[in-house]
Amino acid sequence: MVADFTRDERVSALIVLGGLILAGLFMAIAGRNDLLGVHGWMIAAAGLWGFFAMVRGFGLPEPPATRLAEYYDAPTRVGLILTLLWGIVGMGAGFWVAALLAWPDMTFDVAWLSFGRLRPVHTSGVIFGFGGNALIATSFHVLQRTTRARLPDAISPWFVLLGYNLFCVIAASGYLMGLTQSKEYAEPEWYADIWLVVVWVVYFAIYMRTLARRKEPHIYVANWYYMAFILVVAILHIVNNLAVPVSFGSAKSYSLFAGVQDAMTQWWYGHNAVAFFLTAGFLGMMYYYLPKRAGRPIFSYRMSIVSFWGITFMYMWAGSHHLHYTALPHWVQTLGMAFSVVLLVPSWASAGNALLTLNGAWHKVRDDAVLRFMALAAIFYGITTFEGSFMAIRAVNSLSHYTDWTIGHVHAGALGWVAMITFGALYSLVPTMFKRERIYSQKLVELHFWLALTGTLVYVFAMWNSGVIQGLMWRTYDETGTLSYSFIDSLVAMHPYYIARALGGLLFLLGTLTALYNVIMTIRMPAIGAHDPQGDLPAEPALQAGE
């Protein structure tokens, strides 16, 4: 890494890391009576580690000018590994919380092992750790390939990747210590939130600076999505995390809004975290890796346009479907439901665009587990969005809300769509990025595919069942006009499904472990010097298409 930096960049890095150390020390001292201090020390330690690495490498020769004729892929390589590691942490935590719901005595009197603290480790671990790293790693790759421009410098991508992972570590370790704002998917406390804004600004700057130097006149649809992901997540993150800290020496903060305004802001954020993190970002991924692997042109440019703007516009109205029948005014609920229903159209347009792109390549889907991951992801994306629009209908939501049905929907999207498309992209990228001839074992990919598919189906069907049963039990009346079941009755009925879900999750986790093994073994294979067989066209083109 240091070897890739110019002298100026090394100096800048030292300054940034010095600043990080100072900020960490400031937090450690101001927060010495608080858990903030622990995070202060962690940040200072991270800064110090980077500082020493930088100092040690400072004297290395500067990178040759010839590097500028090549794409800069080192951050992507590291990002891919981090994706897998966080995948295992996050899914491991998911499996553990699933097991806790089946066998609740596994807390062992250890506070950080309790359900309430581990659950956000799971959600943030998979969404931000696994998903976020996958998005950053692939976006750097896609951005360069589709603009035929190298990343603007070496330091900022590293700042984004490592800074982002520092955020993830602060977030997850904070939950274990009990530091949380309690807002779902926005749980990290104020100082972590501020840090993420800084990282995000640099991320956006990388995008703009690279686009400014692009050699393709048109910006490819994958980049529209990655840009929407970066921009809208920034807006959502800033507004939803507005809060007043108790003091500069305290990790705790109180959110600016209360009650109904806070709830609406939270679910405007929460729903669009789904839309722009778990959907837009991954659609960007899909729009590159799926046609690339299939060797087919995108089915319809026009459908890309309609679905992109439809998604960007309509998702932002839909958040209130998380608050049907609550103290949120009825009029907001109506708007949320109305837009959620129309939202199905652009959603299916993108799923359809992906699947129709495979026309002419279905034999490849049959033979190639990597492409099959991506095809299946598109199918699950279609299923999940249909289900989502259905659940957004008030009457349906009266049954599904608060139940495991929501959890089933989440994981149809999370496992079936987000994780599958990521694995597809990952398997296509790893050999190219590490300049290996192929993935270590195609058989293991095949095994992973079936583990993931079975795991997803077991998980999702268990939760659909338990959710619908739960919802029905809660609202069933008998002929005396009184409730037929107590809450405990419903709890008892859930037990078998909770066991099934834990098993499904375990299968999925095992699949992810095979991926890690397969990637490690691929990296350990001998490198090939030449350009990879199915990968990139040369960066310096003879003719600019489209001009």
């Binding site: 390939r145 393709e216 299916w348 347009a349 002419g360 489209g546």
Partner: protein, 290 residues
Amino acid sequence: MALKERDEFSGQLTTGHEWNGIKELNTPIPRLLWVFLISTTVFALVWTLLMPSWPGINGYFRGLLGVDQQQAVRASLAEAEAERAAWSTRLVSEDFETLAADASIVSLVRQAGPPLFADNCAACHGLKATGNAGYPNIAQAPMMWGDEPDTIAETIRVGINAGHPESRLGQMLAFGRDQMLGGEEISQLADYLMELHGGPVLEAEARAGAETLFADNCAGCHGSDGKGMADTGTPNLTDPFWTYGGDRLTVRQSIYNGRQGTMPAWEGRLSPAQIRLLALYVLDLRGALP
């Protein structure tokens, strides 16, 4: 302009761009998608016309149907109330004897009672009402405040040692902590209670001492025979049921530290009919209904 080409497989033109080998077809949007978009949009618009929806700065469009979720649920609650009136008015207006003799009421109690009990009472008394440590067995043990249906209903309504202004108050004094009795004396009483429950037989002298202690300190509340008195809400100390536990240590603790269990008051949370229904349900668990 762009270098358009025709895709062999689909016969469509490309847009002429290429990004690292990826091309795009310029396939027109399928008619089906437009139909889909227009129909969902029409649905959404109609829905926002019917329901409260578009906001202004100080108010919002109320919708043509004039629906409001709060009014809607209040109406459905009132309707449910009316539907249940068939039996709920009987429950509050007729006496327990009549109610218990009516098979339709008994079957109502058996149907509506369990979920209501499980959602409100089972947390303390257990799903089968057989109690937990600190929470009496109300399915089998004699009731401290009396076994009469009206008494039970009243206990549920006002609670015991609860915040309710009419709450029943029952207190087992802290004889040891408040230094009314010495450790030795408490041990004697505990041994005495143990003997009553089939524990080691005391020597005559020790028993006499304990009996005096009991008569002087305890009988006022628990009755001279120790079988409890409904007007003080005391438990029978001679039967096999214990609220807090019948091992010698726990009994010593009861005498040393005293006890003041709280049974919440349910007035306000449960309706009068629900309270009487629960009283009947408890009676049924005790085998008192036909």
